[in-house]
């Protein structure tokens, strides 16, 4: 699991499979467990609430890369970040005016933010629990098991990294 050229990267799912299997059992059936205080058995059920990780691991676990232009896992494809010409790095300059209220004075500011740009767009939509279920149930075209790291998923660099 050590990050580096040999890290599992996108194939982390393989290592998670046993965990997922056990979690499924714990969620659907449960497991007989002893309660030391009551001195009797009970059916224990468990659910995965969330994961806590640093950013490289976040990328592996969530499947949404935290590098490059599309690094923000909340905004996902709906971004305004761009690559700097001389610096060569992804930049989030002027991506935050769209989060302001629609009548805020900063939105019309053409001087201090990007040259002569008036921001009219709305912030990216917040994803609710139902949206997530729909997303998970209707997976988009994904090619599993890429043969080399150079092989890219469809729409790479346009809607995702």
């Amino acid at each position: 699991m050590i990050p580096g050229p040999k890290s599992p990267g996108k194939s982390l799912d393989v290592y998670l499979q046993p965990l997922i299997d056990e979690l499924k059992i714990l969620w659907d059936i449960g497991i007989n467990t002893f309660d030391a205080w009551k001195k009797q058995n009970f059916i224990m059920k468990a659910a995965l609430m969330w994961t806590i990780s640093d950013f490289p691991a976040y990328g592996m676990l969530s499947g949404w890369s935290t590098h490059g232009k599309f690094a923000c896992p909340y905004c996902m494809g709906d971004i305004k970040s761009f690559t700097l010409k001389s610096g060569g790095k992804p930049c989030w300059f002027d991506c935050h005016r769209r989060f302001l209220p629609i009548n805020h004075s900063f939105r019309c500011d053409q001087c201090f933010f990007k040259k002569s740009v008036v921001e009219n767009s709305l912030p990216p939509q917040e994803v609710s629990g139902i949206d997530i279920i729909n997303q998970v149930n209707q997976p988009q075209k994904v090619t599993f098991g890429l043969k080399s790291s150079k092989q890219k998923q469809p729409d790479f660099g346009k809607t995702h990294n």
Partner: protein, 297 residues
């Protein structure tokens, strides 16, 4: 719904690094480089900051958000003489090189304290009000979200205020300053509203655990072996110590660094009253019966 947590620890550290290195103009770490100024010319309308051609050499004009060398020295000297309560933060004054105006070897937790406590003080009267104000706002925001009791309405307010703060940063700092970490800050209040306090969702406990394991490595070619070996040994000595007379000092009854003798009094009291060279299960029973804080002194 939160599926994966944004790690507040790393976000805060990277934000602090960006701000501090840029403001102190630390070589090779600052975001305000010549390339940044070139990009600035393409993207923004700030003629005062653009590179100037002088004697066939490009020169970087001084920016309002960068301290000059005297001010840098003053900040360093101020940090050098700081003193903190024991256990609050590591000795930050060790990280400062006053002559070069540099700061190094800052750990995540030092950055955490610096970000929340020292930034407003360190840069006071050094900058014009708008820049000092915006740095303070960032600092206060992190203080707010790391509080150990957070009200939903406060987060609702923080969600709006941090967007304005980042916009104000954008007004003053060059585009190259804004990497993904500056952006992720605006999603933090939402996570707190949904997921609860950051203390239960950040990486500090895990990073500390990693250090604890890392310290056990003796053979760097085979990392896992020594960790297992040392861990087992520690457990054995831990369990074995439970069979000792409680007044014998072991790793479990070790006196802490700042000792108010409460623990020792407790063990002595236990030994005098209940246990006379007795076994573990009785200790367990007694520990269960008595809360350690409600003991006679």
């Amino acid at each position: 719904m939160v599926r994966h947590n944004l790690d507040v620890m790393h976000v805060e550290k990277k934000n602090f690094d960006n701000i501090f290195n840029t403001v102190m103009d630390i070589n090779a770490k600052t975001k305000d480089t010549a390339n940044a100024r070139q990009d600035l010319r393409l993207i923004c309308k700030r003629p005062k900051l653009e590179l100037v051609l002088e004697n066939e050499k490009y020169k970087k004009p001084k920016a309002t958000y960068v301290l000059n060398s005297d001010q840098r020295k003053m900040v360093c000297e101020w940090i050098k003489q700081l003193k903190f309560p024991d256990g609050y933060v590591s000795n930050i004054s060790r990280c400062i090189n006053v002559d070069e105006g540099k700061i190094y070897r800052m750990k995540s937790h030092d950055c955490h304290v610096f970000m929340q406590r020292l930034i407003p003080l360190a840069f006071r009267d050094m900058f014009a009000k708008p820049i000092w104000g915006v740095l303070t706002e960032v600092s206060l925001f992190f203080k707010e979200i790391c509080a150990n009791a957070v009200h939903a309405s406060v987060m609702e307010h923080a969600k709006i205020s941090i967007i304005k703060t980042i916009c104000k940063l954008e007004k003053n700092f060059p585009p190259a300053f804004f990497d993904s970490m500056e952006h992720l800050v605006i999603h933090l209040p939402h996570e707190i509203k949904v997921g609860g306090l950051v203390q239960y969702r950040w990486m500090y406990p895990f990073e500390r655990c990693m250090l604890y394991l890392k310290r056990k490595v003796r053979n760097k070619a085979k990392v896992e072996g020594p960790i297992c070996e040392a861990y087992v040994l520690e457990e054995i000595s831990n369990f074995a110590s439970m069979y000792f007379n409680p007044c014998i000092q072991t790793r479990r009854t070790q006196v802490s660094r700042n000792d108010d003798r409460k623990k020792q009094i407790f063990w002595n009291w236990l030994a005098d009253n209940f246990l006379k060279g007795d076994t573990i299960w009785r200790v367990g029973v007694i520990l269960y019966m008595f809360d350690i804080n409600q003991l006679p002194h």
